[in-house]
Amino acid sequence: MSYIKGLKCRECGREYPKDPLFVCEYCFGSLEVNYDYDKIKERLTKEKIGSRPKNLWRYKELLPIEGEPATGLNSGFTPLVKANNLAEALGVQELYVKDDSVCHPTLSFKDRVVAVALSKAKEFGFKTVACASTGNLANSVAAQAAIARFESYVFIPADLELGKVLGTLIYAPNLVMVDGNYDDVNRLCAEIASKYNWAFVNINIRPYYAEGSKTHGFEIAEQLGWKTPDHIIVPCAGGSLITKIWKGFKEFHKLGLIASPETKIYAAQAEGCSPIVNAIKEKSDTIKPVKPKTIAKSLAIGNPADGYYAMETVRETGGWAESTTDDEIIEGIKLLAKTEGIFTETAGGVTVSVTKKLIEQGIIPKDESIVISITGNGLKTQEVIQHQIGTPIKIKPTLRSFEDEVGEI
């Protein structure tokens, strides 16, 4: 049963067949999957979704594959944590953390998009998958390529955190380290993708890949009891996740699964790389690329491919945007850990600290429901907090030493 009509240009509306295409030949706009929502509406109900296994494929009709998934059978359906301690610290009443730092198998939301991309690549008959990545995507492509038995090529910038390098190499991909930043890697990969017949998940498979991000939003709505929150704060790198969360809410509404979403959506970036936030705050129509300089490497895209759509999402929903310094990012990581026991990576530190700012500025009211989108795990970026969180108390293995050094309890 196919629910996909084809691909459609997001800019000019030209239609294309459901092939590994990613860009409108005419205007260079990105292509998006065009679903047959009437047919989906006849078949997809809350009960049906609820009866399925707790993974991202429970929303299969709204994902762009036509056969059975090749991977991702344990990915997604991550906890929506009612964050009472963090709520108290921020002085708000109702706060949730959507915790993709525990997504299977590689501890970031990228496991969602890669599950969809590789399942689609299998359908298309590709033997090799590839990606340009700052780490999380690299980990996920390498791991899921192993699961789905693809050859894989992973391209990363040379300055990546060790944890992300090792966390990729362990799955034995062809890991290529490029002397340049992510935007350089990306440009190179676009050129490689033109020449080699590989499934580049974030290039020629991108229209399919990106749809996987919707499941982050679907789950939030389902886990809140089939409704959307008043506010959601989302970290932005390329700008795809924030766009797809909103698309997911609108699709649920179109299918009659939820009321019309009135969620305000906020973009969070690091000050050292905030092209999307800058454009929103300056009320500009153009997104000016920047040269990234931030510890939040997983968000360090200076030239965001979906920046315009991210900006439109924020404007359409009546949200706003804010950026945060490297010190504030670390404070954000620590705050989430010490209030909720969740150790997130730098991107999560950005989101938490931006949320704090928006609440302090009075932009997000204290008595409405708020969701913070946490997309990655802190174990991957331990370097950044290494000298920021104190040191162990060293003692000899005697009671006396314990009482001398730690003090009387």
Binding site: V113, R187, C189, A190, E191, S194, N202, N303
Partner: protein, 92 residues
């Protein structure tokens, strides 16, 4: 004077399948006009109705985004390489 221009896949239908073109223009704007002379219709694809480079196209001169240089007036010299790349890749 020879400049090498990399043409992305979606535009190669207009360049008889060629991914690499040689040109001799002195800046990016005149390069687009030169390409139009050789491959009619290509300018319409790279630029919008107002003549500005479309927002989903990135042009690089010697690997540097022209928005960090002088935009359309970025000058070109012998041996320079220009890449025209759709802005579509990305995601981390």
């Amino acid at each position: 004077m020879t400049i090498k221009v990399r043409i992305p896949q979606p535009l190669q239908k207009l360049t008889d399948g060629k991914g690499l073109i040689e040109a001799s223009a002195s800046d990016v704007k005149s390069l687009i006009d030169e390409l139009e002379g050789k491959f009619p219709g290509i300018k319409d694809r790279i630029c919008d109705q107002t003549g500005k480079i479309r927002r989903f196209i990135n042009i690089y001169v010697n690997e540097e985004d022209i928005r960090f240089l002088q935009g359309e007036t970025t000058s070109l010299k012998d041996g320079y390489e220009v890449s025209i790349v759709p802005a579509i890749a990305g995601g981390k």
